[in-house]
Amino acid sequence: MISVNARRAAAATILGGIVVVTLLGLGSSAAFADDEDGIGLSVTISPSPTDGSTTPGSTSGTDTPRGSSNPAPATGADPVAPAAETPAPEKGEVDLGGILFVSGVTSVYDWSINPLDGAAETSITVRNVSKSTFSSTVRFWADGPVGNRLSEVKGVKITALKPGESRTVEARLGGIGQSTFVNVHATITPPKMVDDVKLDSITRDQFVVIPPWGILSLGALGGLGFAAYALAQFIRRPSMPAGLVGSPA
């Protein structure tokens, strides 16, 4: 039979182990966390591989990993995308009958050690299929589950988008926190007239589910605390000596 002291020692060892593992987990998580500079918003303009190449009409580079060929991320409120060098559309690139084609919005959650922070790395790709070079602006924003505005980046410029050229624009929408259900939007505003065709702004949306890790961690901690309390109660319970049997009074 295990004595009370032995059980207490075993319980103390288990609890100590749990605390050490938890602290190690937090430490490693902190090591993987992004550099927190305290600025909620930042913007990255990343030209697709076609931007800098001599064949702007070739296949868009979104099939390569995002950011693999990107320049160093630029931060600021008024960034400008670099222009391509050779405005020579490939045959068949600009006869689709449209002016500007876009992709949907793609968002990747970038978590932070601060449960009230966290960001959505959002991107959208635009393609000029007209016969003219023109510039546009993009506005990114994110709404919470009840339509509350979480973050917004305005006036991201796409300068000198040449015929047949594709360009990917990225923005970092900070302050996502534990919102869980997030609607990310991007609105592209082209010039009002291109090639004698009247253009309107185009909006694309994406619904993103972000695991509320802060709330889940609190719940897990609460569960661990309850388990520790139950264990302690179990250990403190008086043990009956062997052979002791109750007898009628």
């Binding site: 449209g98 949907g104 259900f181």
Partner: protein, 327 residues
């Protein structure tokens, strides 16, 4: 006591002092309970009406839970099973050269809904699915569907492929991530067709100009908005980059297209089946109650759990048809 001790010391061998005998421990008195145990609650007997209402609400709650589980979890398994079977069938047809290239099969018999037509591969979003003929809610459970009034992918003209966004594998749930210039392939009975994405658009946006003679396009359609709560339709236009194939005959025109085959349509043509499914569920419930009273709990569980599960699955499958086909 002292005398006994002295006697023991005298009797003991020299150099080893005797141990005094231990006094036995007094038995521990168990602590009295902190509070008196509660007496068991006595409930008033339920009236037959209350029992009926309680039973009905329990069945309704079980049905709702089973419905949610069916749409979110079981549907994914059903889709995987369907895809495996369709892969087997289409592989056989492709190797025999009998894969359909028109609305009829190799024997000129009109293709049934759910017949395998092609394999679509979109590596950027991890899609590898067998495309089936037809786009009703029931057909799209198996995989992406080809709208009957449009040509096959790769043939001259516009081909329309629809796919679910969340339930039953949600094969087209990520097509909005495709960017202009991305390429994907569709393998049909006429070979491998390579497409290049033109762009993503929503309902109401201007559409690309109609393809010229000798051109081929494909339009991928799915629901947009939160998963399982669709708010609209998303389209991905793509144009053929490989050689254009000859068009096969189509018997169905847009006007002849069944209403349940259109985007975001619900299928009410099989509501009668839902009525029968509900009747089957009710009969199973009544039979279970009768067996419980006559034969006992053990035999009732063994017999009626599979029957009840089957009835609930049948009802849920029919209810799913009332949801939008692109969900």
């Amino acid at each position: 006591m002292t005398l006994e001790l002295e006697k023991m010391i005298e009797e003991a061998p020299a150099g080893k002092p005797p141990r005094p005998p231990r006094a036995p421990k007094p038995p521990r008195v168990p602590k009295p309970p902190r509070r008196a145990p509660r007496p068991p609650k006595q409930y008033a007997p339920l009236s037959p009406q209350v029992i009926l209402v309680r039973g009905s609400l329990t069945i309704l709650a079980a049905l709702l839970i089973a419905f949610a589980a069916n749409v979110t979890v079981l549907s994914q398994v059903q889709h995987l099973v369907s895809q495996q079977m369709l892969h087997n069938e289409l592989r056989e047809q492709l190797s025999a050269g009998t894969a359909p290239v028109s609305e009829g099969d190799f024997d000129d018999v009109l293709l049934a809904d759910g017949a395998p037509l092609a394999v679509i591969d979109i590596p950027q979003i991890d899609v590898h699915e067998v495309v089936v003929e037809g786009t009703s809610g029931d057909t799209l459970k198996a995989g992406p569907g080809h709208r009957r009034d449009s040509v096959l992918p790769g043939q001259q003209g516009i081909s329309v492929l629809m796919g679910r966004a969340a339930a039953y594998g949600g094969p087209f749930g990520r097509i909005q991530e495709l960017a202009p210039g991305d390429s994907f392939t569709v393998r049909t009975g006429q070979g491998k067709q390579v497409f290049e994405v033109i762009g993503v658009r929503y309902a109401g946006d201007p559409t690309p100009a109609s393809p010229k003679a000798g051109e081929s396009r494909v339009i991928l359609q799915t629901a947009r908005g939160p998963a399982f709560i669709p708010s609209g339709i998303a389209y991905v236009d793509a144009r053929l980059r490989s050689e254009v194939q000859a068009s096969g005959q189509r018997q169905t025109t847009f006007t002849a297209l069944p209403p349940q085959d259109k985007a975001m349509a619900t299928d009410t043509s099989a509501v009668w089946a839902l009525v029968f499914a509900l009747q089957f569920l009710l009969v199973a419930q009544f039979a279970a109650v009768w067996a419980f009273r006559r034969l006992g709990a053990q035999k009732t569980w063994v017999v009626f759990v599979p029957v009840g599960v089957l009835a609930v699955l049948y009802v849920n499958n029919q209810l799913t048809l009332l949801l939008p086909n692109l969900l």
